[in-house]
Amino acid sequence: MPAYRVFVTAYDAVCAASDSPEGIFDAICEHRTGITSYNVLLDEKIVALGKIEKEFSIEEILKKTCKKVLEKSHLADFSKTLLVVGSSVGGMQKTEEIFFASGSYAHINPLLHSINAIAYMLNQHFIFKDDISFSTACTSSANAIGYGYEVISKGVYDSVLVIGFDTLSQTTIQGFNALGVLASDPCSPFDSKRSGMNVSEGIAVLLLENQCDATGIELLGVGYSSDAHHMAHPSPHGEGAFQSMKNALLCANVSANAIDYINAHGTGTLANDESEAIAIETLFGNRPYVSSTKSITGHTLGAAGALEAMICVMALQKQIIPPNTHLREPENKTLNFLYEAKAEPLHYALSNSLAFGGNNTSLLFGVPQ
């Protein structure tokens, strides 16, 4: 049993679907996608991406998002709070701008290039007790939440601010294009005719604390695993995702048949969705509702774990299960996919994040009891 319980007490987020948590949740429930098709980013190829409509720079949006979370919290400041960042590309967008303009590394500021650029930037505006940044590709911010869970549950910190952050960069757009996994339309996770993923940008900020008010949702457990299979392909029978979900259940001491909803990683790629569906089916059968919300938000890469954790928290607070969008004919015939938002009593929600290198993380949330 952990020494301390861990709660999500405040959050905020911005992604292609909306600039607020309520807007994002409504967009998911009303099937309003934030994904748009572009033909300017890759020669002769249309790709569907999730871009944030920006009145300000992405750094300014991040700062404002953190400020909103502070305002929603009971904290006066973050001076006793640990900052934990999860990002896949860090300051790559800035590096690209400088390098493509000058053809040289000379003007690249290493402090603003690396993954640590986000913590460096936030430390200019807020005072944190300490900071740490994780970069494990698409599980980055799920692992950041996992670390936050551990420092609170083991009694090291009372509060942790988790940031999931990734911007659209040419590296990720052209990189995923090189792997042949980009869709030209908003993605259709788990559909038999799915054609790939939508690279997107996003920011999600969650405050974790060891106590909560009436609206707080408990982070009950975290499960990690490694596929040990291939750098870019998941284990075909979903062994890695199965193990991370099982480990989350063990960590929380919750049985598989108690899970009401799974927010799947569900990228819309052939390999991920088939493998993850097998993993869910093997562990849970057809009991929990399953959806991927990436057809609305896009795949926000290193930010996805935090964004989808927030969606699970909101689902538990509102007692509304978020649906799939663009899912017409599921490839997996067993899973209990949801097609429309549904109000139903919810106790436990599981969020999956799966990444390059076979890195898997599952987060289990529940209504406090």
Binding site: S88, T95, F100, P110, T136, Y147, T171, F356, G357
Partner: protein, 214 residues
């Protein structure tokens, strides 16, 4: 919270230009697999081969700049309007090196990579200490692979362009026998400094126990 970590085994590699990986052919005999490994992955394999008392378990890795070689390949290909190599892209993420370790050694455990600028190796020790409270033996790694063409355009103070450190650790309640500090070796990346100090100093002690303050 103060956590005492016993250093069960340690190893490090430093190269002013690049680090030699003399055993890599023997350690990764399949040529096609070996060719896909990044330099950081090869360093990680060599380091794992050099340490004792780690039979597969959780790994916490750190790097300030990650897979700089593949990142530079990608940037240069895009600047020159060339097609990107899918292998370069999949190998460009920060957790590439330890992911290859998990694949090569069938390690299904939790494997994380963090990146905290100059504080990277200190944070690897902190994260390792936090995780080690669960009672298991962990492998802590850190690396930098900065030996890329034109690195001098941006590097002005790091002499050792390639480096890696490995520590095998577990929690102990016994008194610390060494103080955690930065390595005094000039020209190393700050991001490996604390772990390098531990790896340099630990073999001189009968039992090496370091206090990590979270």
């Amino acid at each position: 919270m103060n956590i005492h970590l016993e250093i069960l085994s340690s190893a490090f590699m430093l190269g002013e230009k690049n680090v030699e990986t003399p055993n890599i052919k023997e350690l990764v005999p399949q040529m096609m697999v070996r060719r896909r490994l990044t330099k950081a992955a090869k360093i990680a394999v060599e380091l794992l081969n050099s340490v004792k008392h780690f039979e597969g378990g959780r790994i916490i890795c750190g790097s300030a700049f990650g897979e700089l070689g593949t990142t530079a390949n990608i940037l240069n290909a895009m600047k020159d309007k060339q097609a990107l190599s899918p292998t370069d892209f999949q190998n460009s993420v920060y957790n590439t090196a330890v992911s290859y370790l998990s694949i090569l050694y069938r390690n299904h455990n939790e494997i994380l990579t963090l990146s905290s600028g100059d504080k990277t190796s200190l944070n690897v020790l902190k994260a390792g200490a936090l995780k080690a409270l669960d009672g298991d033996v962990l492998l802590l790694l850190c690396f930098e692979t900065l030996d890329i063409p034109n690195i001098e355009q941006v590097n002005r103070c790091i002499t050792y362009l390639e480096s890696g450190v490995a520590l095998v650790v577990r929690v102990t309640k016994e008194h610390a026998t060494m103080k955690l500090q930065k390595s005094e070796l000039v020209g190393i990346p700050n991001s490996i400094s604390e772990m390098l100090y531990v790896a340099q100093f630990a073999p001189q002690l009968e039992r090496s126990i370091v206090e990590v303050v979270l």
